[in-house]
Symmetry: C2
Subunit: 137 residues, 2 copies
DNA sequence: TTGCGTGCAAAGGTTTTGCATGGCA
DNA sequence: TGCCATGCAAAACCTTTGCACGCAA
């Protein structure tokens, strides 16, 4: 999409494949490093962070920052899964810590409202709703 | 409100007064430490972090985490300003970084929807909407 | 060959923790 | 007096940066 990546490197392809394997799953940078280390083919953490950042810019992954003391997490939204993610809430339970996906069209209503009434262009993929999940209410 | 604070200490009162002076303003822990140091009556940073956490639990302050590499910020919402905050959006522009308050009843609709359709109890004071502000669209 | 990508190690910044001391009730 | 709060320093944590080397085009 975006011309940020000039080169197609082995690590980049491996990372994309890895995330593609878990669409809709939230994975953080530490998990990624740990996984490849345990596989016997480690990828440097600086590389992981730098590639993940690029992939977010390119729209392949999206990044969710949930709170300050837990790591940012990333999710595959590239290509085909892109449309689903566009109508997907992300809700974080502040008691059990679970991050929940919710497929729902209501999000479009909110988006439209924010834009029309408040001149704010919502980026749904980066927005996280805080609260309590059904198990923790 | 909440019985988390057993003692009424000097530092606690000073911190509450400080935040009360700036309702609707976002202040981070570093700023607080810096301010009191510059005033010649410093408060230990551990104390600041610990008291701020308690005040959030008690509903006196609310905490906004905007991204991983910038400090969390706090805002006075105790007592009288509490009701306003309950119908207040917080929107963060991911270009200019501005954090915007929006007073709006639409939030209640969203809250109701999340609860009725998704069994999720939204905590509006901790939720930040990401996107682009009118100057950055 | 050019210059971006990689990887190691170290730095960066925010927040938390350990522990002895101080202060409220 | 009993316990919680404070404060210093150090640790913990995630993420970024510096720099030399490697590799894609």
């Amino acid at each position: 999409m975006n011309p940020r990546s000039k080169y197609k490197t082995k690590q980049r392809e491996i990372l994309i494949d890895y995330f593609k394997t878990f669409p809709g799953v939230h994975i953080n940078a530490g998990d990624v490093c740990e996984y490849f280390r345990s596989q016997g083919s480690p990828i440097g953490q600086a590389t992981v962070y730098r590639q993940l950042e690029k992939l977010v810019d390119e729209g392949v992954l999206s990044k969710y920052v949930v709170d300050n003391n837990s790591p940012a997490c990333f999710e595959y939204v590239g290509a085909d899964s892109h449309e689903d993610a566009a109508t997907c809430f992300h809700c974080k339970c502040r008691k059990c810590g679970k991050l929940i996906h919710m497929q729902c069209d209501e999000l479009e209503t909110i988006e439209a409202h924010l834009f029309e009434e408040h001149r704010f262009k919502l980026d749904p993929m980066r927005t996280v709703f805080y609260g309590l999940c059904e198990n923790c209410i």
